[in-house]
């Protein structure tokens, strides 16, 4: 059983938001919402400034608080550790939105909660998620974190990296290379 994750090279990312556009098109995300987004994180004081550009989305956490708190089991984990929302089971109670430390979820105009699926329909066909596929600088990598020969494992082994808000204890599966 694979354990899917994503590795994003912040040194290569130019913040073009092509991943955002690809996701919206691929998943028919309604106007005004998005399942992934760009963060420009500026650190330091002038003139010693450093900017990290990140493409962010659901972290498909190992220890997902959204799955734990969902009253109907609409939020669930499927093969590869991908966290999904069953749109037909979701009552729109928004407990998962409050529980998510990454702000990855939103209420769809149809009343249910929606978020990134790691493009599971594509992954099942052996393709990369749409955001990874379109990246013009090839800064995003998707694969099995448990397979030592996968690209993501090799990158994590060879480069310093960090995950977002690890202190929340959710064990996120998206990693950013410094």
């Amino acid at each position: 059983m694979p354990r899917y994750g994503m590795v994003i090279d912040t040194k290569r990312c130019v913040g073009c938001a092509d991943c955002v556009v690809a996701c919206k098109t691929e998943n028919n995300v309604p106007e005004g919402y998005c399942r992934d987004w760009i963060v420009q994180d500026v650190q330091g004081d002038y003139p010693d400034l450093y900017m990290e550009i990140r493409s962010e989305r659901c972290n498909h956490c190992e220890n997902a608080p959204c799955v734990r708190c969902c009253p109907t089991g609409a939020s669930h984990i499927v093969e590869g550790g991908i966290v999904l929302v069953d749109h037909d089971l979701c009552t729109g109670c928004k407990a998962c939105i409050a529980a998510c430390p990454y702000d990855a979820r939103y209420v769809h105009p149809e009343g249910y909660v929606d978020k990134c699926t790691f493009c599971i329909h594509r992954v099942r066909e052996g393709k990369d998620p749409a955001c990874v596929e379109v990246c013009p600088t090839k800064c995003m990598h998707f694969g099995d974190l448990d397979d030592p020969r996968s690209e993501v494992s090799k990158l994590l082994k060879s480069r310093p990296h960090h995950a977002l808000i690890p202190e929340a204890g959710t064990e996120p599966k998206i990693f950013y290379l410094y």
Binding site: P71, A95, A98, Y102
Partner: protein, 413 residues
């Protein structure tokens, strides 16, 4: 069966007659309920987009009121415990009123949760056995059990007592006392579960605090009895059901002690947030002092703090608390203060700033406010309805044999 039917008919007849003030009160509430229903129909058609909630603040006025009202419901235990278990004669007289408040509050709670749902048509998914009930993992699933269970307990116990009295029989303590014991623990459970719903979220440092459960209970046990005291005053004034001074005194003690503990706990939280602020104190800054130029809740919360301190200090002085008028005004003050603090003052800042560090403030919209008012009107309607039937039975005006020729114009507003 025939007796039960007669009971229902007599009860309904009792609830539908009264003096002009009674009809005026119920009529006004009905108008508000209907306005609420209209706006809810708009919300059903347009979705939650007509509310002020958005991507960043996804729980607003509805869940704020829900949180507060769970406390109001739990507060009935402050009458149930002394009345049934310690056999307090004064509280035994009014315990049914407390249980009436609990029933009304729980109905409002459930209505607020449904109003907040994006897909209320799928409510049944949250029910045990027939739905996809994620228990015991989800705290919301626990909430479904504890709230509905508590509603059932607070309907069944008073119903049994009133029905026995209506039929002129003595209620058998063996039949109802076990349920009373359960309901005492259950009352504490409903508010603890609701507190854990928030305290369990590591993503929201503002709520992720071990003090939240006990704070909820302290605020509930002051605001709830304060509300009951005010309703008792109106019942005393507008019906033949006279409330002795002693009941107000005892309620006053409970309210005062709980309010003092509540204030201490609030102070502990404020100390922890501001003595050495961390990255987790942003929400508290937003709430109390404003954060990066956004300060919508600042006047709101300081109103609450001032009212809270004023009410607690006044009630602490025996002489002032024993003055009926001062006592009632301070009960109302405390009720409003805690409604602000535990409602919007607790829920909204949890989402500000958002996890991405963005600050988007929340303001309820007109439809949202009218739906909220409608649900409150519904709760008061249910409460008045229950009390209107319970009082003549308690007083012995309404009982089985004479039910057709009953009533002496018992009035309540």
């Amino acid at each position: 069966m025939l007796e039960f039917l007669k009971f229902v008919i007599a009860g309904f007849r009792e609830a539908t007659r009264g003096q002009r003030l009674y009809h005026l009160w119920m009529g006004t509430l009905t108008v508000f309920i209907l306005i609420g229903v209209y706006f809810y129909s708009v919300q059903l058609r347009e979705g939650l987009a007509i509310t002020g909630m958005h991507d960043h603040v996804s729980w607003g006025l509805y869940i704020s009121n829900f949180t507060f009202l769970v406390g109001l419901a739990a507060a009935a235990v402050m009458l149930v415990l002394p009345a049934y278990i310690f056999g307090d004669i004064d509280f035994k007289r009014v315990v049914l009123i407390g249980e009436g408040v609990a029933v009304a509050a729980l109905i409002m709670c459930l209505a607020f949760v449904i109003a907040d749902m994006g897909r209320p048509d799928r409510l049944w998914h949250m029910l045990p056995f027939i739905g996809y009930f994620n228990w015991p993992s989800s705290l919301l699933a626990w909430d479904v059990i504890v709230l509905n269970g508590y509603l059932a307990l607070n309907v069944v116990i008073p119903f049994y007592l009133l029905y026995s009295r209506y039929r002129g029989r003595k209620a058998d303590p063996k039949k109802y006392l076990p349920f009373v014991f359960i309901s005492v623990f259950w009352a504490i459970a409903i508010h603890t579960v609701t507190a854990f719903l928030y305290a369990g979220l590591s993503s929201k440092p503002f709520w992720n605090s071990s003090i939240l459960g006990i704070r909820f209970l302290a605020s509930a046990f002051s605001a709830g009895p304060a509300f009951i005291a005010v309703t008792l005053y109106f019942i005393d004034k507008h019906s033949d059901f006279k409330i002795e001074e002693n009941i107000f005194h005892k309620l006053g003690y409970i309210i005062t002690v709980a309010a003092q503990i509540n204030l201490f706990l609030l102070g502990s939280e404020i100390f922890k947030e501001f003595y050495h602020p961390t990255a987790h104190s942003h929400s508290a800054y937003y709430l109390f002092f404003g954060y990066e130029g956004h300060n919508a809740l600042v006047p709101w919360i300081w109103t609450s703090i001032i009212l809270n301190v004023l009410a607690t200090a006044t009630l602490t002085i025996h002489k002032l608390r024993r003055n009926r008028r001062v006592f009632l005004v301070m009960c109302l003050t405390l009720f409003v203060a805690i409604w602000i603090e535990k409602g919007m003052g607790l829920i909204v800042p949890g989402f500000i700033p958002s996890q991405l560090g963005e600050i988007v403030e929340y303001f309820p919209t007109m439809p949202e406010i009218f739906i909220t008012l409608g649900i409150w009107a519904l709760g008061l309607f249910v409460f008045t309805f229950l009390v209107k039937i319970a009082i003549p039975i308690e007083l012995g005006y309404l009982h089985l044999k004479q039910s057709s020729t009953s009533t002496q114009g018992v009035e309540h507003a």
